[in-house]
């Protein structure tokens, strides 16, 4: 290894300089990238990188024409930071004054400024000798002392900003409203962060080129984000990942003789995908394992309904397995979870529904049968009904079920003739509901009439007793206090609001 390095050093006198520059830049990029992804500015970073071409050319021209100095790094640096800030200001301004969304404005502005750089470059081609290929792919192999100093300055500058203003930057990223309310100048921090981003982008261009610099910014930060729940750790880890992708990428690029900038970003991306796969909490594998271990809500609900269907709400595990099929292991786990949630209790060998479990199961039953009625009413073939309803019963959101119930005219039976449980979520004593929701035997007091024509028969405060429905469940019959029985349509019954009596 050492031999190989000395050999490398001999064949490439720039090695030490290149490694130093790369270390500085990848560290600065890694740390800055964290702020960028936490503030969702990744696209903006890309824009800055492109806009820089105009700045670099302008900086070059100024130095060349005014001071006759050839490609003076600090001037190009300042030029690009100007171009970057100009882009940001224009983006902010256009999205404020027009209806064009910010991402579109960014696209317009950076291609525009990038192209302007191209125009400048070709127009002044006699004066400007910037190697566009290097600009696009980096010039690690030809790092000059001036570059090294510029990088050192940028790195020290941005790291000091992040350390000194850590609290403010964190709060502006996490909660702008609180930040503003305690007097932090949020806009000033936006610009500060943009300036820092421009600095590191400019410095990164030297290493990996304008196209790949965004990779050096974003990839290590995203990799660290997958592994950390704390910002300080994320910043440190991101710097480390930036550095490792640089070192590893650079060395293998030298070994097999490919473009070092590309090798660095490829290494970073590989690093990211490995971490994405194996990260302990937010990784794909971990997620897959968790999901395998997790009992899906649907299985839980199926178990509940099976217990409800059994005699006296109690069933043994063996019966459950024959009834439901599937893996014994997972059924056991589902039952355990239901016990933990207080929906089932152990009863010797058997499990039994608790009151809460029964309520839940009845809600599912109601959802199942209403869905089945609904599916039949929209022309679902008979043989598919049950299975489709089995899947749909898990959509048992109260409002959705209420909607079905109302739309179907509050049916009493499903297509197989089984009774649909009443809406016991809303039908509690004291609740105010439309008469149409009541079932035979319910009693309630009229509290509101939404239709004046009803006032001839009903009066506020009148106590009604609900009788069995007639005409295939399409006519509601209610008994008035004087013994008369009135027949109402669904529409009329919806317009009489009653307060349910405590029985």
């Amino acid at each position: 290894m050492i031999d190989w390095l000395t050999e490398l050093q001999r064949s490439n006198p720039h090695l030490i300089k290149a490694l130093l520059v790369g270390t500085l830049v990848s560290t600065a990029c890694g740390v800055t990238g964290c702020w960028i992804i936490l503030r969702r500015m990744a696209f903006l970073a890309d824009a800055l990188a492109h806009a820089m071409l105009a700045g670099v050319v302008a900086g070059f021209l100024v130095m060349k024409l005014l001071f006759a100095s050839q490609s003076y790094a600090p001037a190009m640096l300042i030029g690009s930071v100007f171009a970057a800030l100009f882009t940001v200001v224009v983006v902010g301004w256009v999205s404020r004054v027009s209806r064009i969304k910010e991402d579109t404005v960014i696209g317009i502005t950076y291609t525009g400024v990038f192209a302007l750089g191209g125009v400048l470059l070709s127009f002044f081609s006699r004066h400007v000798h910037i190697d566009v290929v290097h600009f696009l792919t980096g010039q690690l192999l030809a790092v000059r002392m001036a570059d090294l100093w510029a990088m050192a300055f940028v790195t020290v500058f941005v790291l000091s900003v992040y350390i000194l203003f850590y609290r403010s930057l964190q709060l502006v990223a996490f909660d702008r409203v609180l930040a503003a309310s305690i007097g932090i100048p949020v806009l000033a921090f936006d610009y500060l962060l943009t300036a820092c981003t421009s600095f590191v982008v400019v410095s990164g261009v030297n290493v990996v080129g304008v196209i790949l610099v965004v990779g050096l910014l974003i990839i290590p930060a995203a990799t660290a984000y997958l592994l950390c729940d704390r910002l300080p750790r994320m910043l440190a880890l991101s710097a480390l990942f930036g550095w490792t992708s640089f070192i590893v990428g650079y060395l293998w690029a030298e070994a097999v003789n490919v473009a070092p900038g590309s090798a660095v970003v490829v290494t970073g991306a590989a690093q990211f995908f490995v971490v994405l796969l194996i990260a302990p909490r937010y990784g794909v594998l971990a997620d897959w394992l968790r999901r395998r271990r997790m009992i899906p809500q649907m299985l839980i609900e199926d178990v509940l309904r099976s217990v409800l269907k059994s005699r006296q709400d109690t069933i043994s595990l063996a019966q459950l397995v024959t009834l439901m099929g599937g893996s014994v292991d997972r059924l056991t786990q589902a039952v355990k979870q239901l016990i933990r949630e207080g929906l089932l209790v152990r009863d010797g060998e058997n499990v039994r529904l608790t009151d809460q479990g029964r309520d839940y199961a009845m809600r599912l039953q109601r959802a199942h049968r209403l869905w089945e009625t609904y599916l039949a009413s929209v022309g679902t073939p008979q043989r598919e009904l049950h299975d489709r309803a089995d899947a749909m019963e898990h959509v048992h959101d109260e409002q959705a079920v209420d909607y079905l119930d109302d739309r179907l005219g509050h049916p009493l039976h499903d297509p197989h003739g089984s009774e649909i449980p009443e809406d016991f979520v809303h039908l509690v004593p004291g609740a105010v509901v439309p008469l149409a929701m009541l079932r035979e035997g319910h009693r309630g007091e009229v509290v509101r009439l939404e239709n004046e024509s009803l006032e001839s028969d009903f009066a506020l405060g009148m106590l009604l007793t609900v009788k069995a429905r007639s005409r295939d469940g399409h006519q509601w019959n209610v008994e008035l206090p004087d013994g008369r029985v009135l027949g109402l349509s669904h529409q009329e019954a919806d317009r009489v609001w009653v307060k349910l009596r405590v029985e």
């Binding site: 964190q170 709060l171 996490f174 305690i182």
Partner: protein, 262 residues
Amino acid sequence: MTEPAIDVEHLTVSYGPVPALLDVSFSVPPGTLVGVIGPNGSGKSTLIKTILGFLKPDVGQVRVFGQPTDRIKGSVAYVPQRSAVDWDFPVTVREVALMGRYGKVPWYRSLSPEDYAAAEEALRRVRMQQLADRQIGQLSGGQQQRVFMARAMAQGAQVLLLDEPFAGVDAATESAILDVLRETKAAGRTLVVVHHDLATAAEYFDRLLLLKQRVYAYGEPREVLRADLLTQVYEGRLRVFAQVLEGGDAEERGDEGERADR
């Protein structure tokens, strides 16, 4: 007459051609628990952000204990709406509570042991100290809400603004949060709480502000929860609120009954 804790005068705030708030005026005496109600998009969050000084009004002004908002700097604490928080942000429960202290420490100084102690104490009050090292995304909805309550308490502000603290929490958490609100009020603080549940609004708050771009009513819950006003503000969605209205009527009837008994 004591100075109002919050005094809002002729506030108009807009994001575009349609104002989010229009000529909003009201004032809150110290030690009051005020509920802000109104349908989605009625400007409740906008009002909160303007009182905080985050949004600048087009017209009008906000004063907190007589001071204009750009001068209050941290004396108003804030609990954001759940949907406004990035729950994936790499930050722990304790770190969030500590943010309540940021306003008290100049940027060149580090947080003092007292700041850590205040954050810890606030977490204890909302019973979140056991989970202090969790990342905030790994909490239940109710716990998440409590973390931000702790942050507001750590700030030690006289005025607290809470945006839908009861949204998406279970009944137990709801009553725990309510207890904290009442304790805070008993300590003489002023609270403005955005609330979405009309059924509990009368029970929870001393005063209600019925808002939909404009102020439709402000005062005792009984004066605000009137059928005609609610119909106007929640047009077309009244079916949902029939219970609330009837509940209110029933109470009134109950009162009359008592009087008749006497």
